[in-house]
Symmetry: C2
C-alpha cells in the first residue's frame, strides 16, 4: 500500500489510473482542474480531490493533510494538439509551468518521492518509420509535442541536478471508456446521426499504436519501479501499428453489428496540422519489465461503442 | 537603418550589442531588468530603456511608442550556471517564461519582425570532443543549459507553427570589458589582492572557445539575415579551443607586464557543478556568412586587464 498523488486525476487517463491504483489497495489523492463532487471522485477511487493549480501551496496543503506521498503520477497538462495550436501559451502553462511547480516542491519538500511523469509519443513527432525506440531523437511537430518534450527535459534536469527519482512514460494512442474526444468519439458521434456515412480528415493511412486505457494504467503502475538516476524514458505502446482506416472500419463494424448497416467511410486526404504519419512504439523496455498487453484491439473498439451508446442513452 | 529591440540590453553582451547597432545607425530600444538611468543607457546607444519584465504589456507599450520593430535580439534570461543550480525556478522564469511572452507577442502583434534568439553552448553540455556542429544532439548538463535549450525549442515551435522568422545564435565563452563575473574577473580580482598567487576550481584543462564581446556582437548582427523558415541554429564561436590554464597564464602575464611579478597558479582539480570538459564551436556556418573573427585572444586578455584596473582605480 502506498500513498499516491495523481495530478490531472480528473482527466480520462487520470481517473482510470486512480481507480486502478485504489483497487490495488493504495491511498490515492488527486490534484488538478475540474469540478468533481467528492462522491464522484470517490467512485473513481480518490480519497481526496483538490480542484486547483499544480502549485506549491496546493501541494503543501495535500502534504499537510496526508503526509508525504510515495509516488506522484504527473498527468496534468494540455491534452489536445488542436487546442495547443490555437492557444500555445495556455498549453505551455498547463504542461510546462505546472511541471516546474511540481518539481520545485519535490526538490524542496518531498525529495524522496518517486515521480512518474506521463508524456506523449508526440515528442517523437514526424518523420519516423516503424517502431520508435526511446533513444530516437525527439522531433516534435506541434506546440503540444514541444511542450511535452520540454516537460520531460525539466524532469530530467531536476533529476540530474537534485537527484530526484524520476521515470518518464510516453503514451501512444490511448482509447477507452470515458474518452470524449479524438477519433473514436468523432466516429461514434457521426454514426449516431448518420449511421451510413463517416467523413474524416487525414488520409486514413496514418499509423498509430492503439492502447487500451485499462492496459495503459497497468503499465504506468509497472514503470514506477524504474524511477531512478539517471531517469529512464519508457514507451507505453504495444509495438503494433494500425492505420486509422482499420480503426474506423472496426468501429463501424461494432456499430453495425446491432443495426445491420455498414457505413461508407470517406477521408478528406488533407493532413491535419501537427499530425505525424506514423507513431508506433518500440516496446522492448516495457516488455522487459514483464508487462503484457491484454486487451484485444477489436474487442476494445466494441467495448467503446457499447460504452458510447450507454452514455448516449444516458444523455437523451 | 532598422528599429531594433534588445531584451536584456542592460547585461554585459546586451549593452555591447546596443552600442554596436546604434553606431551602425539603427534605432535601439531596450527592455529588461536593471536600474539604468536614461543618460547611462544613452551612452550605450539606447534611445529608450524600459526596466521591467519581458511581457506583453511592456512589449505593447514599446510598440505603441516606437512602432513595430524590425528585429528583436532576445538576450534576456538567466546568466549564470551557479545561480541556476541554486535557484532553478528563478532561472526558468528568466529564461523560459520571458521567451514565451515574447513569442506570444510576436505571434499576435508583430509576426513580421525578425527574432534573433541568443542561446548558449551550454545546450551542448558534456561529452563532446573537438568542434561541436550545430546538428550535434543537445545534452545539457545543468538547469542553465536545459533552460537555454527549452528557450530554443520554444522559438523553433513558434516558428514552425506560426511562421515566425527566427534564427538562434549559440554563444560560447564571451569575454570583454564590462564582464564582472566568471574566470577573467575572478583571476583579476585575486591578482589585485595577491599578485603572486591564483587559486581556482576545476583542473585548468577545460577547453573553451573564447570570443571577444566586440566580435560576438558583430556576429549577432551578421546572423539576423539568416532568420527564416525553418529556423537555423548558428554557433557564434571561433572553432579554436584554449584551455583555462592558458587563459589564466595570459591574464597573469598581462598583469605582470606592469608589475614584474609572475603569479603561481593552482587548480583545485575538482570539477565545478554543471561545467563540461570541452565546448568548442564548429564555426563553418558563421564563416560561410563571410564573418571574420578579429580580436586576437592574448590582446583581448590584455585589454581586459587594462579595463579591470581602470575600473578598479575608479572604485577606490
Amino acid at each position: 500500500m502506498a500513498r499516491i498523488l495523481i495530478t490531472g486525476a480528473h482527466g480520462f487517463i487520470g481517473r482510470h489510473l486512480a481507480k486502478s491504483l485504489a483497487l490495488a489497495g493504495n491511498v490515492v489523492i488527486g490534484l488538478g482542474h475540474g469540478n468533481w463532487p467528492p462522491l464522484h471522485a470517490q467512485r473513481w477511487g480518490l480519497v481526496y480531490w483538490l480542484n486547483g493549480e499544480i502549485d506549491i501551496p496546493n501541494l503543501r496543503s495535500i502534504q499537510k493533510q496526508f503526509g508525504t506521498v510515495d509516488i506522484v503520477y504527473h498527468l496534468a497538462g494540455g491534452s489536445s494538439v488542436g487546442a495547443a495550436i490555437a492557444n500555445p501559451r495556455e498549453d505551455f502553462h498547463r504542461t510546462v509551468s505546472s511541471t516546474v511547480e511540481l518539481l520545485e516542491w519535490l526538490r524542496q519538500e518531498a525529495s524522496k518521492s518517486i515521480l512518474v511523469a506521463v508524456s506523449s509519443a508526440a515528442v517523437y513527432g514526424a518523420g519516423h518509420i516503424g517502431q520508435i525506440a526511446e533513444t530516437a531523437r525527439p522531433n516534435p511537430f506541434s506546440p503540444y509535442g514541444h511542450h511535452k518534450h520540454i516537460m520531460e527535459s525539466l524532469c530530467i534536469s531536476y533529476s540530474e541536478s537534485y537527484q530526484l527519482k524520476v521515470v518518464i512514460g510516453r503514451l501512444f494512442s490511448v482509447y477507452g471508456e470515458g474518452l470524449r474526444k479524438q477519433l473514436l468519439w468523432d466516429v461514434c458521434s457521426q454514426l449516431e446521426v448518420h449511421p451510413d456515412q463517416i467523413l474524416l480528415g487525414g488520409s486514413g493511412n496514418e499509423l498509430r499504436d492503439w492502447t487500451a486505457v485499462t492496459d495503459v494504467v497497468r503499465a504506468l503502475s509497472f514503470i514506477h519501479t524504474e524511477a531512478n538516476l539517471p531517469p529512464k524514458v519508457i514507451n507505453i505502446g504495444t509495438g503494433r501499428g494500425t492505420n486509422v482506416r482499420t480503426i474506423v472500419e472496426g468501429v463501424g463494424q461494432a456499430w453495425a453489428a446491432d443495426t445491420n448497416l455498414s457505413p461508407e467511410i470517406e477521408f478528406s486526404g488533407k493532413a491535419r496540422a501537427g499530425d505525424p504519419q506514423s507513431l508506433i512504439a518500440q516496446s522492448d523496455q516495457l516488455a522487459a519489465l514483464g508487462f503484457e498487453w491484454q486487451k484485444d484491439l477489436m474487442e476494445g473498439l466494441a467495448d467503446y461503442v457499447r460504452w458510447f451508446r450507454s452514455e448516449s442513452g444516458a444523455r437523451s
